[in-house]
Subunit: 293 residues, 3 copies
C-alpha cells in the first residue's frame, strides 16, 4: 500500500459498500448475546461492562490466572486491555489468549499506553506476536507499534498524532501496515476512525463527536465492544468492526445532541451508553458514515 | 420443606405480614449509619459505595489483608463479593470473616460466578461452610451451590434458571434449602425475589424492573446494601432483608419511570441510586409487594 | 500560630485578596493540559480520571512499580491516594514519589483512612516524612496526622470532627501546624475548607454543598485535581489550591441547583463533573467565597 496514492482517493470510493451487512452485524450482538470476557484495567472496567450490556452482550471481567482461564474456556470472545498492569494480570492475559486461540474465539487487544511507557509497548508487541484477532488503539499507540515517532506522553493520543483529512492517506497506510504486519484486523480511532484487514481492505469511518475524548474509557469501551461484535459475526470480523465503529460514533453524536442544558462531560458517558442501548438499525443506517477505500 | 406442597400456596399467604416493621427496618439504616466494609470486585465497587451512601450507611472498601482486618475490627457489617479474585483477596476474605464472626457482626456473601467458574464455586462453599450470616445471589448461583444443574455460563443468571410464577414453588424450596443447609438467611434475586431464613421462613418479593438486569452491579449493590440493613437491624436479619428487597425493587421501578426520553441503561444506574436516596417509608409502603409463605 | 487569637479574626480579613490570580490559576489547567499520574484506589478511580479530563488535564492511572515509575518520568504531577492498598501499590508509591521529587514535579498525598486504620496512618506518615508537596484530606484524617483524638471510624470524616464557624480558629491552627510540620501545602476539606502553606499563610474557603458528602470519591477527585492545579501553576501551589477549592465547591453548589426533580445522590456526581467541565472564570468569580486570614 502506498500512502501517497491513497491521499487523493480516500474520499472517492463507493460509500457504505457493505450497507446490506450493516443491520445484521449490529443485530447479531443482540440475538447471540455473546459472553465477552475482559481482562482490563480497573479505571474504566465499569463502563466496559455497562456498554457490553447496553449492546446486548454478556460481560465477565476477570484478572486472576485461574478464574480468567476458566471463563476463557466458556467465553465467546476475549478482550485484553493493558491500561493497568500487575504481574499476575500479565500472566492471566498470556494464559487466556492461548486458550482463546486454541478454542478459535476472537482475541482483542487494546495496547493502552504504548509508546508512552516502554513496559506497555513491550507487552503489546509480545501479545501481538503471539497472535491476536483484532487490535483497537489510538493513533499515538498505532505509531508506537510501527516504530514511528509518536508524540503521546500519556494514555490519550497526542494532538500531533491526530488524523485529519490532510494526513488521512498516510494514516490509512499505517493502519493497513499494522493489520498486515500482525495478521489481525486493526482499528485505529480518533477524530476519524480507520480499520484495516490483514488481507488489505481499508475502511474510513467518519462518525463520532469530539466530546468522546472528554471522558475516560471511550477507547476502552470500544475495545470491549469489539469482542462482542467479533463473537457475534464469525468470519466477518472486518465488516463487524466497521459497523461497530459507525454505531459507536453515531451513539456519540446522539449523546451530544441529547445533553440537557448544564450537562457536560460528566453526563456524556451515560448518554453515550443510553444512545447505544436505544440504537436500532434504522438509526444506525441514518447516521452511519463510512467508506471502503 | 416440600417443594410440591409449596406450589399452590405461595400466593395465598397473608400479604405484607410484617408491615409494622417495614418502616423501622428501612429507617434504621439512616439513623444508625452503619459502617459497612466491603471486600468486593473492582468492576462495581463504585456503585456499591454510592448505594450505601444513598441508603444512609457509611461504606469502606478494602482488599489487602492488613487494612481489611483493621476495618473489620471497627465495622458494623462485612460484605464479601467474589466477583474478581486474587490470592490476597481470598486471604483477606477469610481473615476478615473470622474477625466478623468473633465480633458478632453480620457477614454477607455474594458468590458471584458460582457454577460458571469452578474456582468461584470452591471459594463460595468454603466461605459458606465457615459460616456466613446472609447470602445474596442469583438463581444460577443458587442452583450451583445446591449441586443442581445450573445453566449459567457467565456472571449473569441464565434465562433457563429464571424464576417465574410457574416454577416459584420449586424455587422457594431451593432457597429454603440453601438457608437450612448453610445456616444463613438466603436471598435469591431475579424477576421474582425469594428470601428464606435458616428456621424455615420464606418470603416472596415481587418488586423490581427488568432494566435492573441491563446494568452491571445491580446484584453487587444489593449485596452491599444487605450489610447495611443487617447491621442496622440486629436480631431481625430476615425481616430486614425482605424489606430491603422490596425497597431496592421499588427503587428500580421508580428509576424506570423517571427515565427521560432518550435515556436507557446508561442513565438507569444513576436513577436507581437517586430513587433509593430519595425513598421514604411512605413511598416504600406504597410500592412494597411481598408476602410470607 | 495561636489558635485562640484566630478565633475572632477569621471572618474579618480582606476577602478574596488574590482575586487577580483566580482566573489565571483556573485557566492554566486548561491551557497547560498537565499530565497527572494518579496511583489511587480502585473505588473512585474512574471519577478521578473524569474530573481531571473535565478540568482540562490529562489523567494517567497506574499501579505497578514499573509502569508507574515510567509514567512519573514523563508526568507533570503525581497524586498518591492510599484508599486501597496492596504491597506493590505501597512500593509503587514510594518509588514514584522519589522520582517526582528528583524531577521537581508536585507530589500530592491523600491519606485516606488515616486514624481509622493504623496501616493507613503509618504509610501516610512515612510518605509525609519523605516529603510531599501538597496534602489534601478530611478533618478526621488531619487530626489523626497531628496525633489528636480523631472520631472517625471509617473513611468519611466523623460528625464530631466537622469544622464549623464555632471551632474554625482551632481548625485553622491545626491545618497550619500540618503545613508547618510536614513542609507542604495542606488542604483540609469539609463543610468549610481550610488551606495552609508551609510559610504560615492560611485561607478559609466557604464554597461547597452538603451533598458532596453523599457520594463516594468527592475527596479523592479533589486530590486528583490538586495535582492538575499544582502542575499548571508552578511556584503558586498555595494560591492554586485555594482557587481550586473554591472552584470545586462552586461546582458542587451548581450541581445541586442543576438536579432535576427525582434526582438525588446518584445523579449528583455527574452534575458535579458537568459543572466543573462547563465552569468559566466568570462563573468562578461569581461563586468564589474565600479569604486569607
Amino acid at each position: 500500500m502506498n500512502s501517497d496514492k491513497k491521499k487523493g482517493t480516500c474520499l472517492q470510493s463507493e460509500k457504505n459498500k457493505t450497507a446490506h451487512n450493516l443491520s445484521s452485524c449490529f443485530e447479531n450482538v443482540r440475538s447471540e448475546r455473546p459472553l465477552v470476557e475482559c481482562i482490563t484495567n480497573y479505571v474504566t472496567v465499569n463502563g466496559c461492562a455497562n456498554l457490553l450490556l447496553a449492546a446486548g452482550a454478556s460481560p465477565v471481567m476477570a484478572d486472576d490466572i485461574e478464574g480468567a482461564a476458566e471463563f476463557t474456556r466458556i467465553a465467546d470472545a476475549l478482550v485484553l486491555n493493558i491500561g493497568t498492569l500487575t504481574p499476575w494480570v500479565r500472566e492471566a492475559m498470556k494464559t487466556s489468549l492461548a486458550i482463546a486461540k486454541e478454542r478459535g474465539i476472537p482475541g482483542v487487544l487494546d495496547p493502552v499506553g504504548c509508546g508512552a511507557a516502554a513496559s506497555h509497548t513491550r507487552l503489546s508487541l509480545e501479545l501481538l506476536e503471539s497472535g491476536v484477532s483484532i487490535m483497537r488503539c489510538n493513533q499515538s499507540e498505532a505509531k508506537a507499534l510501527l516504530g514511528l515517532n509518536a508524540a503521546a506522553h500519556g494514555v490519550d493520543a497526542a494532538m500531533a498524532d491526530q488524523v485529519s483529512e490532510a494526513n488521512l492517506g498516510e494514516a490509512c497506510a499505517n493502519v493497513a501496515e499494522l493489520a498486515r504486519r500482525y495478521g489481525c484486523v486493526a482499528a485505529v480511532t480518533g477524530a476519524i476512525d480507520i480499520a484495516a484487514s490483514p488481507d488489505g481492505r481499508v475502511a474510513v469511518i467518519r462518525n463520532g463527536h469530539p466530546m468522546m475524548a472528554d471522558i475516560t474509557g471511550s477507547g476502552c469501551m470500544l475495545s470491549a465492544l469489539t469482542g462482542a461484535f467479533a463473537a457475534a459475526n464469525p468470519g466477518h470480523w472486518f465488516e463487524a468492526v466497521v459497523v461497530m465503529l459507525a454505531a459507536y460514533g453515531a451513539a456519540g453524536e446522539i449523546a451530544q445532541k441529547n445533553l440537557l442544558p448544564g450537562e457536560g462531560s460528566g453526563s456524556f458517558e451515560m448518554r453515550l451508553i443510553d444512545a447505544f442501548n436505544l440504537m436500532n438499525t434504522k438509526t444506525l443506517q441514518e447516521y452511519a458514515d463510512y467508506e471502503f477505500i
